[in-house]
């Protein structure tokens, strides 16, 4: 089942795909662009993986890792489908990262990889922006690069784990203004989803709503104000985001 979370007519609703847009839980059918899309789940702890696709790691000139490169993000950086992400005027390299997001469904502590998938509730598409200009070499990747307001785009749907036949065979694609720039497949993950759950739960307890962003494949390019960035993952839908200049962002 695919579920979204939208704001419409003064309330927040669960929403489902419909041939004319989206169907709200109360039965109303709306166009996709007349609802405000929120992240499909209220995020708990957000984990993100650096360099978890072999080719992307090569692209950034990293060598073999001793353990998964995990960092944490705050829920305040999250926005939904069709949201707007600001590109500050002073930056030269801001890029998207299309990632498979794994949502934890049960408390998980010291789980082995063989049983790890029983703890997964479902999946979403994530677009985890980074601004390379702000990279500093202390507690990398630093939050000014990876934890900016509007920098973690999630959705449009949360898809039940049971609806995905083989999560290790999903293609990821990112289009900028309609041109395909990034393409990868979850079969190339350096650390697999079960291994990530085993690793994280070996030293901390995972809880329902925790989200693991499993890393991005090669093919990241700079985006500019006015660009439309679309991330797709097989079976999960199509996540749309727009890049806004400081002026378009319309702060007073």
């Amino acid at each position: 089942m695919m579920r979204g979370r939208v704001a419409y007519a003064g309330a927040i609703h669960e929403a489902y795909p419909h041939e004319r847009g989206v169907r709200l839980a109360d039965g109303r059918v709306c166009r996709e662009d007349e609802v405000v899309w929120l992240a499909p789940v209220q995020p708990g702890t957000i984990f993100a993986l650096g360099l978890n696709y072999a080719e992307h790691a090569k692209e950034l000139q990293f060598s073999k890792q001793e353990e998964p490169l995990v960092f944490l993000k705050g829920a305040g950086s999250v926005i939904g489908h069709r949201g707007v992400t600001r590109r500050p005027a002073d930056v030269t390299f801001m890029h998207y990262e299309c990632e498979l997001a794994v949502v934890i469904g049960r408390p998980a502590k010291e789980v082995t990889r063989d049983e790890a998938m029983e703890y997964v509730a479902g999946y979403m598409i994530a677009n985890d922006y980074a601004i390379r200009d702000y990279l500093e070499n202390y507690y990398r990747p630093n939050l000014r690069v990876k934890n900016r307001d509007g920098g973690t785009v999630l959705g449009p749907w949360f898809v039940d784990a049971a609806d995905i036949d083989d999560v290790a065979q999903l293609e990821l694609r990112t289009y900028v203004n309609g041109t395909l720039h990034q393409k990868g497949n979850t079969r190339d993950l350096v650390t697999s989803i079960p291994a990530l759950i085993e690793y994280l739960s070996s030293f901390m307890t995972l809880a329902p709503g925790d989200i693991i962003l499993t890393g991005t494949p090669e093919g990241v390019v700079n985006v500019n104000a006015g660009d439309e960035v679309v991330c797709e993952i097989d079976g999960l839908g199509r996540l749309v985001n727009a890049i806004a200049s400081d002026a378009d962002f319309n702060r007073d």
Binding site: G44, L72, K73, G74, Y138, R144, D149
Partner: protein, 254 residues
């Protein structure tokens, strides 16, 4: 909603936090009551904000892997599994290494803080609390593993949030970290590179802080290391001290 009038304290046995005066907090704690953390937002830790910590890196900041001194605040997230309250028993993963007890001032945000000016940054503060930011000791601050700071129980908070009106100067507070049986380790918030107002301004330049979020001012350089069996107290100013102990096993069986 995060509202605070006087002292917010959440006794482990009660469904909601209380908001009471300092005398009542002392009376509640005198019985040895355990508490939940008095906050439930996101906790952001700040690193290298103590002048001595940056000085200790010395010329290394200009060499690989750091290559330049830090510019923006160095931050990390303490995830929700790390939250623990007054009288918690925290598991030591490896007793040879021990666990470093980074006692820090916790700045509790009272209203949504985005692009805050340094001049009125303290208006966004609901109050202050004590944070024991625990970590497995590690040398490199380049790309440390999350398993050093994100373990269950590794962010002990409380026992109370003290309303801002009770704290005349958050940048002149004595921090004392006591491991039972040893001389207390003494630090002071006055040695911070960014004071509370500057830290809030610099952080909210790129990320919004929400009511109930906590930003630590940063752990002092050379904070002590605790081991299994240690009873620890972290005190700031004359506020009720935060107490917890270190144990070898989950559940704290004696």
């Amino acid at each position: 909603m995060f509202a605070l009038d006087d002292h917010r304290i959440h006794l482990a046995a009660e469904p909601f936090a209380r908001d009471v005066d300092a005398r009542s907090v002392s009376a509640l704690l005198a019985s040895g009551a355990a508490c939940r953390p008095p906050v439930d937002g996101t906790v952001y830790g700040t690193l290298l904000n103590d002048r001595a910590a940056l000085d200790a890196l010395g010329g290394a900041v200009n060499a690989a892997p750091y290559k330049a001194p830090p510019k923006a605040p160095v931050l990390y997230v303490k995830p929700r599994n790390t939250f623990a309250g007054h009288r918690a028993r925290v598991v030591v993963p490896d007793d040879e290494q021990g666990v470093q007890v980074g006692g820090s001032l916790g700045v509790v945000i009272g209203r949504t803080a985005c692009r805050v000016h340094v001049g009125n940054a303290l208006d966004y503060v609901a109050g202050y609390t004590v944070v024991a930011d625990l970590s497995v000791p590690h040398e490199s601050v380049y790309r440390p593993s999350v398993r050093f700071r994100a373990r269950d129980g590794f962010c002990v908070i409380g026992p109370a949030v003290v309303a801002r009106r009770h704290v005349s100067d958050p940048d002149a507070l004595r921090v004392a970290i006591s491991i039972e049986g040893t001389e207390p380790f003494i630090a002071n918030t006055s040695t911070s590179i960014r004071d509370v107002a500057r830290l809030i301004a610099d952080v909210t330049d790129f990320m919004t802080l929400a009511p109930g979020d906590v930003l630590t001012l940063g752990v002092p350089h050379g904070a002590p290391v605790a081991h299994v069996g240690d009873e620890i107290g972290v005190a700031i100013g004359d506020w009720p001290p935060l107490c917890f102990s270190m144990t070898a096993k989950a559940g704290g069986g004696q």
